[in-house]
Structure formats: C-alpha cells, structure tokens
C-alpha cells in the first residue's frame, strides 16, 4: 500500500510546515490529557497509597474493584459523562457538554483507576520491604504513606505515564462528550477517526504517526527530567 509511505511524508510535512490546524489540535490534546493526568494523579496516588497501607473490612473487594476499573471502556465512560452533563441530565445547568472540560472529566475518570491501582501495587511492594523499619521508628500512617510515595516515585512515575498513554490515545469518550467540534473539541484521536471516515487514510495515518511521536516526546521528557532529578539527588 502506498498509503504507508505517503502517510510518513505527510506527517513530516505537517510537522515541519507547522500546520496551524494541526498545532491547535495537538495543543488541545495535550492540554486535556495532561490536565486529566494531573487531576487523576492528585486523586489516584493518595487513594492507591491509602489502599496499600490501611487495613479495613472489604479492602480486598475495593482493591479488586479499582483493578477492574482499569478496564473501563472509554465509550462507556463517555456515555456516562454524556448522560450526567446532558441538558436532560443532573448537571446540565453547568453547560459543560461539548467543551474541553467535559473531555477532561471523562479522561480523569478513565485514568484515575489506572494510577490508583498501579500506585497501590507499588506502595504495597515497598511496604513489605519497609514495614518493620517504619514500625521500629514509630512512624504514623501519614509518614508511612509519604515515605512510600517518595521512595516509590520511579514506579509511580511509570503508573502516571501509563495513565497518560491511556488518556492521549482514547477516542471513545472524547468523541461523545466533546463532539469532535472543529476548533473547540477536536483532538488528535477524534481527528484521526474523522479522517478515516472520510476515507483519507494517508492523512489519518499521518496524524497517528504524529500522535505516537507526541507520546514519545512526553515520555522522553518525563524520563529525562526524572533522571536529572535523580542524579541531582545523589550528587
């Protein structure tokens, strides 16, 4: 298929020419997904670490539930958020449907369980190692959690990056709650879906290549930053 080679050259051309429409779409995708990741991290890390440390009845059930929610289908999340934000739904008065904020909400719901579940596992593994030591120091629960989060930061970073991968790549949720409105809620993935449905396969694939490059750049930046921080810490 000649589509592959023409997709690559199209992707390069779009990037180099700084296509205005493309830049707008990239900016929105990053804005929504990075915000969602930040929010999901704020909710997911504390949730995951508390689940790792706290002992309460039904804990196993909660952990299984959070793990299961990692498999939430984006289209289902989109549908639920649509029904909540619809003018016929309970939060219709907020007028959030078909806005970037609606997409942010949907992606946060999608990603929080991933970060919480992976954080819980990371913290629990560390806790096994540290338990006795922490107890002998007489550390309180808050201190234990802080220690686990700090010492487990590399693994937690991976959890956050896994969440980012999910957010930037999903199309089902943002399509429903964002509506793929040109200049308002069109993201990389909804643009790819649109171009595919127009039969513009080469352009769709070119956008896919750019999306991959974007994900690579974000991952590389995060790994680079954390590596620098790590070296600085041990210097």
């Amino acid at each position: 298929m000649s589509d592959f080679s023409s997709a690559l050259s199209k992707a390069l051309y779009l990037l180099i020419s700084g296509d205005a429409a493309l830049m707008e779409i990239i900016a929105l995708s990053l804005q929504v997904s990075l915000s969602a990741i930040a929010l999901a991290t704020l909710i997911g890390l504390p949730l995951g670490s508390v689940l790792a440390v706290a002992r309460f009845p039904g804990r196993g059930g909660v952990i299984t539930l959070v793990n299961a929610l990692m498999g939430l289908p984006p289209v289902v999340v989109g549908l639920i958020v649509y029904m909540l934000l619809s003018n016929a739904g309970p939060f219709g008065v907020l007028n959030l449907l078909y806005t970037p904020t609606a997409m942010l909400i949907a992606q946060t719901i999608l990603v929080t369980p991933i970060i919480a579940a992976l954080a819980r596992q990371a913290c629990e593994d560390l806790l096994e190692e540290y338990d006795e030591q922490l107890r002998s120091l007489g550390a309180g629960t808050g201190q234990i959690i802080a220690t686990l989060l700090w010492d487990g930061r590399t693994r937690l970073l991976t959890a956050i990056l896994a969440g980012f991968g999910r957010a930037i790549a999903e199309v089902g949720a943002v399509m429903i709650v964002g509506g793929n409105i040109n200049h308002v809620t069109r993201t990389m993935t909804t643009a790819i879906a649109l171009e595919t449905s127009k039969g513009n396969l080469a352009l769709a694939l070119a956008l896919g290549v750019i999306l991959l490059a974007l994900a690579f750049a974000v991952n590389a930046a995060v790994m680079g930053l954390s590596g620098t921080a790590e070296r600085a810490a041990h210097a």
């Binding site: 804005q31 990075l34 915000s35 930040a38 929010l39 991290t41 704020l42 619809s86 003018n87 016929a88 739904g89 219709g92 008065v93 007028n95 449907l97 078909y98 806005t99 970037p100 904020t101 942010l104 808050g142 201190q143 802080a146 220690t147 989060l149 700090w150 509506g179 793929n180 409105i181 040109n182 200049h183 308002v184 649109l194 595919t196 449905s197 127009k198 039969g199 513009n200 396969l201």
Partner: protein, 290 residues
C-alpha cells in the same frame, strides 16, 4: 518532616499545573456567541460546513459548533436539549420530533440523492438500473455482499425503506452476505470497499470520499433515491437553555437567498454536492420524500 513536605510540595505543584492548564483554555474564555448544531455525518463529511459556516459567522458574529452524529443519535441528542439546531435527513423522524414538541418547525433546506456503489466487476449485475429496490432484490438473490449502516441514521432508514419495497428482509441474512456495520457513512464505505460489498450512500459523502478503491456508482437516478435534508430549531419551551434567537438566525440565514446560493456554490472536484430547495417543497416528487 522532610518527606511529607516534599509530598505536599509535589501536590501543590500538580494542583497549580491543573489550574494553569484548565484556565489557559482560550476558546472557553471568549464570549463570542455560539450555537450547537446537531448534524448528520453526511453533511459533515462532505465538507459543506467548512464552506458555509464562515460565511454565516462573518455576517452575524455567531459561531456554529457542529456535532456530527448519525441522524438517530443527532435527534436523540437534540431531544435531550444538547443542541440548538438540528440538521438531518430522515423526514418522518424529523416530523415526529416536531410533533412530539421537541422541535419548533421543520424546513426543507436542500437535497441530493442516494446511490448504490459497489466493486467495478459488479458481481450481481445491477449496473445501469434506476430502481434501487429492484437492484436490492437482485443483490439478495445473488447473495452478493452488502454493507448496511445498521445505525438508524437517515441513510439506514432510507435503505430499510428500499428493502421493504423490494419485499426482501435482509436482516434475516445479517452476518452472512448482509453486513450491518453500525457505524457512520465513511466507516461503512471503508468496510464495503474492504469486503467488496455493495452499499447505499449519499452522493455528497461519496464524492468527498477518498478510499474508493475500484468502486463505482451502479444505481442512481430513481425518484425513490432522493435525499432531502431538513432543519429544525430545538424547542426552547422544552429546553430553556436553547439559544433560540441565535439558532433561528442560523435557520433564517440558511433558508435565505444568500444561504441557499452558498449551498449551491459548494463544489468538490467540479461537482455540486447539495441542491438548495428551501420553500420549494411542492415541486419535489412525493415518492422521494423521506
């Protein structure tokens, strides 16, 4: 406590990041008036709006945000009040929408036509026919692959009507030669090309569709294949959030001489995709109305 201080600082930095990212959304800050148009996918995929809407916006200052969904989904979204104006192509469903009080009034906007496309070698030998139902009957008898939208869109409703007229119930063959994609027109065309299956499509989507392979138009021209688009203001009495003034301004403009001329002026590869017919209802053949 060093550790918890680091942790708190991390949290604060994240919170600041969230705030800066969400507040930095320039589009939302703009106070420019806008309406939401719930539209069938066919008009979106054809590129018509990219041509029409800047003209309307520069005249009125009202931005039109188009949500593209199959006619069934678009009507449902509009029923929920998630849109100000509805532009779709399934006349009976549109009239029901108005009769149930969800819409104010329905107006004809424009039309084009449906066509049956399929592989160049035409395995069922339907090429040249004008009668779509007759063609469907031949396809069914030959058990030639056929890709259906299967999504209660305007095109799907038209297809079911044509099957009914052909006295074949294709749904019993679903999964064999009859394939229901449950997706939009473009996605279904991609499937049809992949399966070398016949499919019913509107001409606008077909002309703008790029992944045609060797596919050709085999059936066209019959009055039963007429594809009429209608526009409706969502009823502000049902949903007070509806921007009735701005929505009506858009409807008035698209039905005006200027709007209608703009529709006629939209061409792709030298071909006109939509034919304006606001207010000329009676001149259309009755059989083609849907």
């Amino acid at each position: 406590m060093f550790l918890s201080r680091t942790f708190t600082r991390g949290c604060l930095m994240l919170a600041a990041l969230v705030l800066s990212l969400t507040l930095a959304s320039p589009r939302q800050a703009a106070a420019k008036p806008f309406i939401i148009l719930q539209s069938s996918t066919s008009t979106v995929n054809s590129g018509l709006y990219n041509f029409l809407l800047p003209r309307f916006t520069s005249k009125t200052g009202i931005e039109v945000r188009v949500v593209s969904a199959g006619t069934g989904q678009a009507i449902n979204n509009a029923k929920n009040g998630d849109g100000d104006v509805l532009l779709v192509h399934a006349r009976s469903a549109e009239e029901k929408f108005v009769a149930q009080g969800y819409g104010v009034k329905r107006f004809d906007v424009m039309y084009n036509d449906f066509i049956i496309v399929g592989p160049a070698d035409d395995p069922a030998e339907i090429s040249g026919l004008e009668d779509a139902s007759a063609a469907f009957k031949i396809i069914a008898a030959a058990k030639a692959p056929f890709a259906s939208r299967g999504d209660i869109s305007g095109t799907h409703k038209k297809e079911m009507k044509l099957w009914k007229a052909s006295q074949v119930d294709p749904v019993t063959a679903s999964g064999t030669w009859y394939r229901e994609t449950g997706s939009g027109m473009g996605a279904t065309l991609n499937v049809a090309v992949g399966l070398r299956a016949y499919t019913l499509t509107d001409r606008g989507t077909w002309i703008s569709f790029k992944n045609r392979g060797d596919f050709k138009i085999h059936v066209q021209g019959g009055t039963a294949l007429l594809n009429q688009y209608g526009i409706i203001l969502v009823n502000p009495e049902k949903h007070p959030n509806v921007k009735a003034r701005e929505g009506q301004a858009f409807i008035d403009w698209i039905l005006s001489a200027q709007g209608q001329a703009a529709i006629a002026a939209y061409k792709l590869g030298g071909q006109q995709l939509f034919f304006p017919n606001a207010g000329t209802l009676s001149s259309l053949p009755l059989t083609g109305r849907d």
